[in-house]
Symmetry: C2
Subunit: 324 residues, 2 copies
């Protein structure tokens, strides 16, 4: 790996990966349109020589410029808003599947054949096998986000098969840690900083999910990508920890961290929203078979996330709260 | 079922389904752009009261007009050219996945919630389990066609989950019978009518695939759609026969029918083309559990196809051959 293009390189995963690749002496090109990526996440990387291309992967000229000279593409740019998919039903397909098609075509034009892709554990829908292995029964999609990621996975593996691409696909659980910017931990944190007396919880609080610390995630990605090398084909890895927490446990950790004792107001229902999976726990035997192990437990990752939110009020808190 | 919209209603499956629905007293709207659909296939249906809307499902105004009053949509319009997908890598995604998104949004706008969709056995890629059940291990896509159909399946099931659509998805083997217009039988037929002394065969002739007679296919579709009714959710069915033929057997049936004895020139290789699956045999236990049975064996379906090609030289033979 000489030079890597990271689409969505100013995001949570992308910017952490950029720092890691620079540590390894890899040249880094960052493509980001800063709709959800943040400039402060790439300040260090840019100071250390990463090159920034500002735009979207649907902008062919910017994409081609960003790809020049890259021998690996980490395609991380995506609409990651799984929760509100039904409010804009065309968005996931365009931003996750059509975008991926654009990246693949730009790679073909540039002669770049190694791709790593951030898919999601949401592709398993509501799986019948838990912990869910990569070879779980052909799932039925329950969210437009999951459907769009399945579409992108399919495109990538068809390119790998037809054009001899070397593809590594990651199905993540939710990630935690430094630069975390969306998900239930920040939702709860913001609510409790605004009003420590009450906390609104979607669903029944029994949703059970696995999480992974961002540095462990980046280590796992690099392990798998190096293992794939430039061998044509598709390898798919679940990335997660071999544990879960239920929302109620997560609430306890957050309230304890903040020293508050709110009334918990549960919306009820097994799912937090339509398309939410009430149980996400991935079988990570395959990535572990490459020697990778996570270094933090989920409670440790939550603690690390809360410490980071404490240190970053501009990100952690709504503007009016910061100003007050 | 009062009124059905059939997208791709002038195609092989669509026009046969239209005739069948008219037999049942269902009103029929046909949407077709006649790029691969054929006017002669819908002459009878139109004479019997079916309504024709000429255009593509990506044309919003035509789609909305065609959908007015429909309580069921059979979404069959697709790019079905699995073989040449790599020559136009954006086409399958646009014509099969983005098109499906458009149909789903038009249904939502019109308040229509029942959809039947023609997917494909190609979504299983090169399956490890044969005969392949609907719940086969999460497959890796080997063709852009399969990837685009997986994308469409995902969108439809996410709508079913999020918007209470009643969805029935069919994963077909290849179909044979009257109005068949593309596939290896017509390729071989045309070659042998042009030059009975030689026959070029893609691959090694050992590719083994299942086929289904078109009338049996339409019967199976109706059985499953009536079973689903307007119950929200997604049901997925393999449609095929519990048998296969290898290409060599198919060649023997066709040469015998034509009374020719050509030199067989095999290109070699397990696959007919990049993305071809050398073995397609679907487990049809699920559709059989609803009482459906095919009426024709594969050799009988091939014979029926050859008889039809004999009777339709304008379709069966290239223009120069017909003129001579």
């Amino acid at each position: 790996m000489r030079r890597a293009l990271i689409t969505g390189g100013a995001g949570f995963v992308g910017s952490t990966l950029a720092d890691h690749l620079l540590d390894l002496g890899v040249e880094v090109a960052i493509l980001d349109d800063f709709r959800t990526g943040r400039r402060e996440f790439v300040v260090d990387a840019l100071a250390r020589g990463a090159e920034l291309f500002e735009g979207d992967v649907l902008d062919d000229a910017t994409l081609a410029a960003a790809m020049a000279g890259a021998d690996v593409v980490f395609h991380l740019q995506a609409n990651a808003d799984v929760r509100h998919g039904l409010e804009h039903p065309r968005l996931d397909l365009r931003e996750n599947a059509v975008s991926t098609s654009n990246v693949l075509e730009a790679m073909r034009a540039a002669g770049c054949r190694r791709i790593a892709f951030s898919s999601t554990g949401s592709v398993y829908g509501e799986p019948e096998v838990v912990p869910t292995p990569e070879t779980a029964p052909f799932p039925v999609q329950t969210s437009l986000y999951g459907a769009s990621k399945v579409a992108a996975e399919g495109l990538i593996s068809a390119y790998a098969h037809g054009f001899d691409f070397a593809a590594t696909i990651f199905r993540f659980v939710s990630l935690l840690g430094e630069r975390y910017t969306h998900g239930h931990v920040i939702d709860f944190y913001r609510q409790l900083r605004a009003d420590p007396t009450r906390l609104a919880v979607l669903g029944d609080g029994r949703q059970e999910k696995s999480y992974l610390y961002i540095q462990d995630c980046v280590d796992a990605m690099m392990t798998a990508v190096e293992h794939q090398g430039d061998t044509a084909g598709t390898d798919i890895y679940n990335l997660g920890t071999d544990a879960t927490v239920v929302v109620d446990e997560s609430v306890a950790l957050i309230t304890s961290h903040l020293g508050v004792d709110p009334v918990i107001e549960k919306a009820g229902g097994r799912r937090g929203w339509a398309g939410d999976s009430p149980l996400i726990h991935l079988d990570t035997t395959k990535i572990r078979s490459l020697g990778w192990r996570p270094t933090l437990t989920i409670p440790e990752a939550i603690a690390r996330t809360l410490d980071w939110l404490d240190s970053e009020p501009a990100i952690a808190l709504p503007a009016e709260t910061v100003a007050s």
